[in-house]
Symmetry: C2
Subunit: 792 residues, 2 copies
């Protein structure tokens, strides 16, 4: 079934010679970056002074990447294709940087790295050198949307990039080490969600160089039949290119790329012009070439080329004179004098192999997606407001209301095809089903008549893999579009590490002059810790917030809107923002609604506020501050306030609600932080504060520990107690419920010392609740149907 590699006559001898020269030049520059400080063209005898004192970098994957790159350039020129390059083996930055330098893009963006001998010296010196550039493909690398740090995400980024980019082909090199990761192993299935009409194409190039740091790779050590079967099973039609002798390898690779590009064109023509709707078998290439190809065969008598010893720096103790000779011989084997002219400039006949302008992969506009980004057309979110006659009068599912707004965001931007929603099969479960009034789920596999909103051109993209959802969305955003990832709160930890890498990308990209801001990565976390009625303890974890706030303050935002109207405000705000990661935590279950739209706007604009309607301190000093962040904590806080009003009508209670968690940090640490004066005005300098928080309670201490009144803050939150139980029992088990909050007030307000009757009433209520749920499996009606009594 799979096609055999074809040795075409694509490459005339003259062209082959030139392409091989480019490859030699790229390899030469790669070795130079890893090893040399100076003497870039080896015009002097190499000495220890020319060599970097610390050798850091990865040679092993690099010659293979260089080989692929020059061949892609050839086919791009022949077919005038628009290709974006993703280097899964991110350690191959010496190669990626060399290619972008040879194409001229590097010098255009970094004029000090000029196309002459001095530029070469600087190019070499800066690599993995303090103050220079990292040893991975990184935001600094022209043409890259893919951080070469943690492995596993190249293919999902590639599939994200081509969505809604019908003219784009992403050539995605997948390393055989990376291919062992779980996220990569499932991302081959991206082809089941690709629309050959409206989306572009991904050309995976599985690069089997056989080794990781110190081990062979799995895919290089299974039989060729098994490998072919695996890739066909993933839905591809693989073309194999295998060997080590450059000439036949050049012919085979050229033939393979001709064939792959022709098949992509044929598939797209069939789908776009002939109405073909069956899922195509997309081509892919398997390139099996030696690790450290063209490098030293042996070092100190030990096998090096074609072995894991080539993985990083093949030899490093340069105080050995034989190593210096080995390096010089190795670099000279590429014959630099044939490649660069007297000024150190790539010879024009070789340079002519590069495509022109934006056809250069290093200058593909999609790789600087911010420059293509157009703001979303947003409907007026206030049009979706719930009417709230008085606080607590109405019950609603907040995320459902958000879903109606998102539906119209989707509708308004259907024509520009730049907005998608991603999720692991939870869009409907998370109450965003209004989206299906205007679009479908993306799906390109078998369908039946009774299927529900599956379509080739669906814009809700769902697979049961949080990794894939995150990778798709990152690829989509990095190429200039907009999106939202909705997820069960507990399971978002699955992509903790991907979030890390994206947040670090945003931080560094913000420091790269030519990168334009991209749309923010927006999370809706719902089915949250307090409402895991079905799923119990294993689904209870609000710690993603803690993880997020470890990253740079100017990148991250965390919002806990307490009801639907505040959620609308926050959603609109996040969809307008850029270069951020926004985390929105909101409930999907029916819950009392507090603020009308005017109040919601006022509250969210501040991010934190005193709820006067719920307080009775009337602008004076309160006896106690009840603070809350999160929908369930807000409900319990208001219920506690109401109980306190009943027990102790003279007690002055102030209610403070927090939407934007970052307001709690000092202004010096986060741009959204309240000034100390504003913080003191809300929380007082000396009154007890009972803070009911959605997540792990210590986060509030961490954020507020420098505040004046911190020592009086008592925080309740999730303390890892839970099971499959009722909603109210969940808060009781974690002592976040109204009764425990009242008990906390009793413990901390001096003038309430001793209130034996109130304490007993609370204990009785908790006992009654425990008895009731044992008997009925339901919460007590009075806690289940509770409404804020203030306005009634």
């Amino acid at each position: 079934m799979a096609a055999e590699p074809t040795t075409t006559d694509t490459l005339t001898p003259e062209l082959l010679t030139r392409m091989n020269a480019w490859w030699r030049a790229a390899n030469y520059l790669s070795v130079g970056q890893i090893y040399l400080l100076d003497n870039p063209l080896l015009r002097e005898k190499l000495t220890l002074d020319h060599v970097k004192p610390r050798l850091l970098g990865h040679w092993g994957t690099t010659p293979g990447l260089n080989f692929i790159y020059v061949h892609l350039n050839r086919v791009i020129r022949d077919t005038d294709s628009k290709v974006l390059f993703i280097a899964g083996p991110g350690h191959g930055a010496p190669g990626v940087v060399a290619a972008t330098y040879l194409e001229g893009t590097y010098s255009e963006l970094y004029p000090d790295i000029s196309r002459d001998e001095e530029g070469l010296r600087r190019l070499f010196r800066q690599f993995s050198f303090p103050g220079g550039i990292p040893s991975h493909a990184a935001p600094e690398t022209p043409g890259s949307i893919h951080e070469g740090g943690e492995l596993g995400y190249s293919l999902s980024h590639a599939y994200g990039a081509v969505l809604d980019n019908p003219d784009l082909i992403v050539a995605c090199v997948v390393g055989d080490g990376e291919a062992e990761t779980g996220p990569l192993a499932t991302s081959w299935h991206g082809n089941k969600f690709l629309n050959p009409v409206g989306d572009g194409a991904v050309l995976p190039i599985l690069h089997l160089n056989g080794y990781k740091i110190a081990n062979p790779t799995v895919l290089a050590r299974i039989s060729p039949e098994e490998l072919k079967s695996l890739l066909q099973g993933y839905g591809y039609d693989p073309i194999f290119v295998e060997g080590e002798d450059p000439d036949p390898m050049h012919h085979a690779m050229a033939g393979a790329l001709d064939e792959a590009f022709a098949r992509i064109a044929a598939i797209q023509k069939a789908a776009r012009e002939e109405g073909e709707t069956e899922r195509p078998r997309w081509p892919m290439i398997v390139l099996r070439s030696p690790k450290g190809w063209t490098g030293p065969k042996t070092v100190d008598g030990k096998k090096t080329e074609g072995f894991w010893r080539s993985h990083q720096v093949p030899f490093s103790d340069m105080s050995k004179p034989e190593h210096l000779t080995l390096l010089e011989d190795w670099m000279k084997s590429y014959r630099p004098e044939e490649l660069f002219d007297d000024d150190g400039r790539l010879r024009p006949e070789i340079a002519a192999l590069a495509p022109e302008g934006e056809r250069r992969m290093s200058a593909n506009p999609h790789a600087n997606g911010g420059a293509l980004r157009r703001p979303l057309r947003l409907p007026d979110f206030t049009d979706y407001a719930l009417d709230i006659p008085h606080p607590g009068a109405v019950e609603a599912e907040s995320t459902h209301v958000m879903g109606v707004f998102l539906r119209d965001v989707m509708k308004e931007n259907l024509a520009s095809r730049n907005f998608r929603v991603f999720g692991p099969d939870e869009t409907a479960s998370n109450r965003l089903q209004a989206l299906f009034e205007v679009t479908d789920r993306a799906w390109n596999a078998q369908t039946f008549s009774y299927d529900d909103h599956l379509a080739l051109n669906g814009r809700v993209t769902e697979i049961l893999s949080e990794h894939m959802c995150q990778g798709w969305l990152e690829g989509y955003l990095l190429t200039g579009r907009h999106g939202l990832f909705s997820c069960y709160e507990a399971f978002i930890h699955i992509i903790d590490s991907m979030f890390n890498q994206h947040a670090k990308w945003l931080k560094t990209a913000g420091e790269v002059e030519w990168r334009r801001p991209i749309a923010s990565l927006n999370y809706l976390l719902t089915s949250h810790v307090w409402r895991q009625d079905h799923n119990g303890f294993s689904h209870q974890d609000p710690g993603f917030i803690d993880h997020v706030v470890n990253k740079k303050a100017d990148i991250v935002r965390v919002y806990l809107p307490p009801d639907a109207n505040t959620l609308l405000y926050v959603t609109d705000h996040c969809l307008r923002s850029w270069n951020r990661v926004n985390v929105i935590v909101a409930g999907k279950q029916p819950a009392p609604q507090w603020l009308d739209m005017d109040a919601a706007i006022k509250h969210c604009t501040q991010g934190i506020g005193l709820w006067e309607w719920a307080s009775n301190d009337h602008g004076g000093d309160p006896d106690v501050v009840l603070a809350c962040a999160g929908d369930v904590p807000t409900l319990e806080t208001l219920a506690a306030t109401s109980l306190l009003r009943e027990f102790f009508p003279d007690l002055k209670v102030r209610v403070v609600n927090v939407v934007d968690l970052m307001t709690l940090q000092p202004k010096s640490e986060h741009p959204h932080g309240l000034s100390d004066a504003d913080f003191d005005a809300l929380f007082t300098k000396d009154k007890p504060v009972i803070f009911a928080y959605h997540g792990y309670p210590w986060l509030i201490h961490r954020l507020a520990y420098r505040r004046n009144n911190h020592n009086n803050m008592h925080v309740r939150g999730y303390v890892e107690e839970g099971s499959t139980t009722t909603p109210f029992d969940m808060v009781v088990r974690n002592r976040l419920d109204r009764f425990h909050l009242v008990a906390d007030v009793l413990d901390r307000v001096p003038k309430l010392a001793g209130q034996v009757h109130a304490r007993q009433a609370i204990r009785d209520k908790l006992t009654e609740h425990a008895r009731y749920i044992r008997a009925h499996g339901l919460d007590l009606p009075e806690v289940r149907d509770w409404r804020w009594p203030g306005g009634e």
Copy 2:
């Protein structure tokens, strides 16, 4: 290539009838658990009072699981096999619980859930009911080692369980939803690490019921040829069982299991008796059956059986009389009166289908691995001590020393085959290569003559998938063995979510009377944030510690040994412990060594201590406390102390080092927490404390915010600044270096106010450093080769 299902004559009509009766009974009990509070045998007309007021649970996957279970029981009896059952679709707990009840195990472990009508009533009532049991397979479930919460880990658990258990077969049901996750997609490759001689067998049963919550599944919607090709590509020989008509399905499944068990036996015989060494193609089964099989075909006119509407509770508004009738009809369709006798006990001819005693999957001893756990034979760790004539006199790679100790742990336990080391291709990189003196890397794929320590019976198990390493280790520990996972610090976030689930398992298992403690899950995190010389910013994240300490205090421990001898102590301690997650963070690079073994033992026994040899407060009050946790912060703190000694000989400096991070928490919050008196004795009540910490600085505030002297604590740590640079530059960028620490002291000790010359000296030094690394790419010799001057 793949075998076709065989309709054997395994099942006589009588046996088929009885097996079908068991299946009906299991399905009946499953529906009963989801829906009923009372009237368990439907001996009265069903009324609303008999039905649970909140319906929580998952029907969809359950009948398929029940079908598989009864067929496994048949083949277990026929072959006397030892089988452990893993239900990847953890939502199928109604089925798993029903099976263990039918086998009698449930009532043996929970006598109140007796084998009679009252027992049935309690069985039904407890399910997903407050105070009862969760709706997933969980620690409470007999025979389970697999939490049915977050999906993706069933196969890696299965492969971990069979390692070194040659007689064990794990029948692992993989749901087609779960199969979309990344971790599951790569874990099929577990067969490349399985030794048919010394390990048992995994029988994957891919259950295609076609739907997730609201979507079809990918693997159910690709062509049968593609699916077969995919599974063959993963190295399996799949047997397909497809249909919905029970009788032929029973025949097909019986034939498939006969064939699978026969092939497993043949493979093991060939390997064990005939010396076959080629990797076998293990059998697996693909079961394609309707979601919600035997449930209502339609509900309210909508397709339900064989569709996603069966996923959870197929119908729930029980106030509709037609729903009550539908439920009664559905349950009666299983003919309970034929299944249970007058007392409500399963009829003996059906009960006789269960295997006996420990052959019951629900009573497999490996599933309560703690009962099988034998302590490791540990060499005396003090024999591996580095000789330290005086602090700082010796430089060594701490993890290398640990590796020598681990080598002998491995050696001492080779015969008992109960210790393994797991890692993502980093064992050698992390300097644990001494292990390869006594064992190899586990490998069962192609090998070449020049390969390095690959062997079928290797006990270092490496794949470039942190998910797989974690899953293997969890499966290995849960079945009663011991192990260690070594990982780059930054990448351990990849398994944040798996750690969560394991920690939650440990918490809950500790509350289940019959579960015995299992060995702790031990992490060595190295290549840590401060020494990412090669890898730069994307590899810099010390936040796993923050993630871990969110879990229950009695489960988690975090150790930051500052040198090799303390690392030896901590390693020994962790390998002896149980029911914990131990996180050890230690460096692999050459670094000064501080404590001889006697001092290390004393220091680690306390977990925190005053280093008198580095302090000059001589038992009196210090002017400042310099605290440190982690090897690099310790080095910088000692260097700062030395500088302070030089600048200000009269300044009284106290150095406190923290090995066990949990000592900082109040005793009320963590069992290792220091008493306030001890904390005050170390940190004083009122003197400035400059705390140099390995990770994100706010964690120290979070742990210590209730301490008396907290307001005087100033913490330095990683603040997300970094690149590919020198080690000292990394600490400078994050202001954790000796010079910034001295500046912090100048800022905070009143009697040093105004020290213009010292400040200028520090600024000059930082400038000199910046110039030097720009020029040389190396740290200044004086910071690179620094030694504690005290003892020289």
